[in-house]
């Protein structure tokens, strides 16, 4: 069960996020954003927010031991503060790939479960991909984050760590 505060936070985030996606696509129509760059723009917005959030969330935590430690933090503390719940499942190939799966992703909850909408769902996942990438970047991890949707509202975020 969620507290009133949590429900309010969630509703505000959901609505703001939806308007953001809508706003970015509207500016594309008006020629302010290059066509095809909308997803990138949303992802970059998420990136900057992720950088700031991780700075705040790790202010009082102990130093991280390793990459796995950091990924666990993202799945638990970070995800809970932003999405009010933890990531359901974290898997890794113990090299440089991490898969974060969640059964009911906040931004996909209002979608009808028609396959055709899966294509549009990526607009609503870009910001969150950036959020993860930005958070990791500020902790010293360079990565590529993508999202995969097989059946809404479940989705999976894949983090590919780039070793320099």
């Amino acid at each position: 069960w969620k507290t009133k505060q949590e429900m309010a936070d969630e509703a505000l985030f959901l609505l703001l996020h939806n308007e953001m996606v809508s706003g970015v696509y509207k500016s594309a129509e008006q020629g302010e954003v290059e066509n095809g760059r909308c997803i990138t723009k949303l992802e970059n917005m998420g990136f900057r927010v992720g950088q700031g959030l991780i700075e705040r969330f790790t202010k009082d935590t102990a130093r991280f031991k390793d990459e796995l430690d950091i990924m666990k933090f993202i799945c638990k503390d970070f995800w809970t503060t932003v999405f009010k719940k933890q990531i359901d499942n974290l898997r890794t190939n113990h090299q440089s790939i991490f898969n974060l799966s969640t059964a009911k992703f906040l931004h996909l909850r209002k979608f009808d479960q028609w396959k055709v909408y899966v294509f549009c769902s990526f607009q609503y996942l870009a910001f969150t991909c950036g959020l993860i990438r930005g958070g990791l970047s500020n902790l010293g991890i360079k990565s590529i984050v993508t999202a995969e949707v097989s059946s809404m509202p479940a989705c999976k975020f894949q983090v590919m760590i780039q070793k320099l």
Binding site: E55, A62, R63, N138, G140
Partner: protein, 141 residues
């Protein structure tokens, strides 16, 4: 007031340097620069014996020749804070230095969360940052 503070980015370039008025600014820049090696050593695998690896506060960095004591602190985002105080200031205890670093960290976090701030830029915020450092330096008198 004889305390000087510096904030350094992950890649070790300065984001903010403020030396006290009585301090030779160039000398402070040099001290901060030489402190970086010590900081890196303390947080690396080599430093396991030297400092509690889980702590952000690094304590005293290295013994001093000229009555200046250097303290270090590294955030989880690998941003480094270095503070140099006069050794004649014997009233300053570890707890006070720690709380000064906490203030620096808190203000730095606020700067990071400011959407108008571009990460990696020099910190030019007067209200959130500069005035905090001023009041901190005044306390260290």
């Amino acid at each position: 007031s004889r305390a000087s503070s510096a904030v350094l980015a992950r890649d070790n370039y300065p984001l903010y340097i403020r030396s006290s008025p009585t301090e030779n600014e160039l000398k402070f820049h040099y001290m901060v620069h030489t402190s970086l090696d010590v900081v890196d050593e303390k947080i690396s695998a080599m430093g396991k014996a030297l400092v509690d690896q889980r702590e952000l506060y690094l304590g005293l960095l290295y013994p001093t020749e000229d009555h200046k004591i250097k303290y270090g602190y590294v955030t989880n985002s690998k941003v480094k804070f270095v503070m140099v105080v006069d050794s004649s200031n014997t009233a300053l205890r570890d707890n006070e230095i720690r709380s000064m670093f906490r203030k620096l960290h808190s203000s730095y976090t606020d700067v990071m969360c400011n959407p108008f701030y571009n990460p990696g830029d020099r910190i030019q915020s007067r209200r959130a940052f500069d005035s905090m450092v001023t009041s901190m330096m005044v306390q260290v008198c």
